[in-house]
Symmetry: C2
């Protein structure tokens, strides 16, 4: 089972996002856990590899189960662990092979193209300190079919 860790890094009013080339969608920098890593070790390593920034004391913000459906058949299940962080060291890299890195005003995030589930995660994480637990059901081309969130979105 694939496990992905990522982090919402906030600096003043801005959030560091990555624009992925495939669909032009924005996402949190991060990537796949490696064997034997804790989720926090993975989030720090992945963020460093993509941005050259070192996260200082990232806090777990949400844990999500993703199930991917082809018609009514579940074809894939994976998990995502999303941290949030307000402190870092280092200089942002000029080049990231995974996409374009961009500091975005937190109030502009809702207008960006992204996976619908990620939009719900941002809506929660940027305005609440509570841990978010969720389960998202997507089609194979990443249309959101349904989701359950706890706490449920307002």
């Amino acid at each position: 089972m694939q496990r992905v860790t990522n982090c919402i890094l906030i600096n003043d009013d801005k959030v560091l996002l990555i624009k992925k080339p495939r669909r032009g969608w924005y996402a949190m920098p991060g990537g796949k856990m490696e064997q034997g890593e804790s989720i926090k070790e993975s989030a720090v390593r992945e963020f460093r590899e993509e941005t050259e920034l070192e996260l200082i004391d990232p806090i777990l913000s949400g844990i999500f189960t993703f199930t991917i459906y082809n018609n009514h058949t579940m074809v894939q299940e994976w998990m995502m662990f999303t941290f949030i962080c307000q402190t870092y060291t280092g200089m942002l890299t000029d080049y990231c092979r995974e996409g374009e890195l961009e500091w975005v005003s937190r109030h502009a995030i809702n207008d960006l193209p992204m996976a619908e589930g990620d939009r719900k995660i941002f809506e929660h994480a940027l305005f609440s300190d509570k841990m978010l637990y969720g389960s998202f059901q997507y089609t194979e081309d990443y249309r959101l079919i349904d989701c359950r969130l706890d706490p449920s979105s307002s």
Copy 2:
């Protein structure tokens, strides 16, 4: 990949544990996540199935990666999500097919037989509000080879 959720339920000075028949070791009630569940849904369902108690507002306390080794070869990797909870409804079942349920004084837990990693989890969770991130390496007969904990134990 196997994913296990469980919960440390505290009532006054006592913690509800389950004594597993195989080794006589104590553990937190819980079990395997099912397809599409969030980790919180799984923890609540598993606790209900084993104890007939309904957890009220369990809080995530720790997330752990387990890697199991045969000599120097990693033969299995799984994850565990441990909640902590102080409120519940319902009456404890007389019979649990997974083992014997027992309320144990929190100060007696350290003297019980259990997996060494679980002992470290209890030491942290019962005396700290901070989330614990960890990675445990075990042999196939559950001897702890090594672990990394964040925050590290005192």
